[in-house]
Subunit: 306 residues, 2 copies
């Protein structure tokens, strides 16, 4: 007797995160399909799964559609735009939405998906491309019990840790935005502190070592501080991610009449860095911007291709 | 045959840090003496060591004088003021200066101590009162090899980790100021993020749990975030410490024509909190200030004595 076919999973958006997720799914033996506008990403997908010609085509035969695009607008477009996934996927399937966005956007997308008879999981992720490919992501998820149940095979394969944060869309997004507020502030602070240390004539490698073991440490100081010590600004995560994410925090806060002075100051530093031409470089480039501005010398490794 | 008497150590400044250090020294069987203006602190010292009537009196018979007062001005006063320690202690002894201060102040104090034939260790500490009493401090120290050698018996007793950061005064202070810049920014960010989370209607205990395990974490978020979750603003470290320390960062940066936007914004938040009457409360009180300002509800535990 042959049991029901394993649940097919579509991944819409094949950037480094989406492609890593597709790899994890393929490795688990679940059938995987996907779609992206980028030809190179599609060629990579073809090695491990079915390439769709549109979001609608990619989700055919799938009961789980993971959307891993840049923001809420792109999520809306691939779900509800021309050849969108939402009308093409079987009712009762789950949309697992992973882009960082405001809780309002997450709630609106959930409403529209549910109006079409779909389940919706508000499921921002964290961990970066390497952890996506290893199936070791952290997922900050909220949604109905039915949405969690339907998404479970994918969650099991993709995540080391799934936080179940409540039964409605918007909660996952809210937790993620609070995390991004802190992450962005901590990157900016790490860059300010390391360039200030350079101005004081301190050895940055020693500063990194001492502070990592002290009360001034943060996850970002530890991680991005190493990029500054190495003078390595190849983008692991780009400045543009934080102009976007702290932009969302700023919009949310203004709408709620809630002052966020630390996040707003950090946003300005990321905008200064983007304006200085480093938008696509590693987000630790805030340190290069400050160093360039002040004439302070910090390590510089020549970037590949430059 | 009786060997040389163990080296006596004086502790000038018996706040929670200094008293903890005196206890660690007494426990190690080194003779300890001390001085403070506070009568209660002196009574506590009397249980374990010799009470001096002045800094000059406290250092009699000692070869190590540890100065653990609030800032550079107090350090100068207890060393070089009326009945100061510097002229009273035997030449060749070491002054171990632990207050957080600018590198310029540390260098000036070292020069003046050395002019009297003393050794000087620029030795800011971190770890808090509990670790002081356990002999588990971190010391960020710089000074001559002779100063380190002379201070060694005290360092061995007081510190879990001694960073030897160079052979001149000012380096220890510089490392400490970079640490304080980050620590202050991270406290302010933790307070902003937690109150923002409350505004979004999130459960703060859950926020703390999730972010502690995510890229938004910092040592301070983990530590002070718990105070906010508990609504506990009994001062472990007071707002006044950070108006002081970020004030020093701000003075140093302005003098060097170096912009420190993150630190300056954090300083403003601590000043707002002090201005609102919470200067002597726990530094996580920035969260209460923001909550009071915005009308957001966060946990509040009634404070002892209030």
């Amino acid at each position: 007797m042959i049991t029901e076919a394993p649940m097919a999973v579509a991944v819409i958006g094949l950037g480094s995160m989406g492609l890593g997720m597709a790899k994890s799914i393929a490795r688990s033996k679940l059938p995987v399909s996907g779609f992206d506008l980028d030809v190179k990403a599609m060629a990579a997908l073809a090695q491990i799964g079915r390439v769709g010609v549109s979001p609608a085509d990619a989700v055919k035969g799938c009961r789980i559609a993971i959307v891993v695009v840049v923001n809420a607008a792109q999520t809306r477009s691939v779900l509800f735009g021309d050849n969108g996934a939402a009308k093409a996927i079987t009712p009762g399937s789950v949309i697992m939405s992973c882009a960082t966005m405001s809780p309002d956007d997450a709630r609106a997308l959930a409403r529209d998906a549910e109006a079409l008879g779909l389940l919706y999981l508000d499921a921002p992720i964290s961990g970066g491309a390497a952890k996506a490919a290893e199936g070791q992501l952290t997922v900050m998820a909220s949604g109905s019990a039915a949405a969690f149940a339907r998404a479970r095979p994918a969650l099991d394969v993709l995540a080391a840790k799934v936080y179940e944060l409540g039964d409605e869309a918007g909660l996952g997004a809210s937790f993620k935005m609070v995390n991004q507020l802190l992450a962005g502030v901590h990157i900016a602070a790490a860059c300010e502190a390391m360039t200030f240390a350079a101005k004081l004539g301190l050895d940055l490698s020693r500063v990194h070592e001492v502070i990592k073991a002290s009360a001034g440490n943060s996850w970002m100081f530890e991680n991005r501080g190493q990029h500054i010590v190495d003078g390595d600004y190849q983008p692991r995560s780009a400045v543009s991610i934080f102009t976007k994410d702290l932009g969302i925090v700023s919009d949310m806060a203004r709408q709620q009449k809630f002052p966020t002075q630390m996040a707003s100051t950090a946003l300005q530093l990321f905008l200064m860095t983007a304006a200085a031409g480093m938008e696509q470089d590693d987000d630790a480039s805030v340190a290069r911007m400050i160093a360039d501005l002040t004439g302070v010398s910090i390590p510089r490794r020549r970037m590949e291709g430059s």
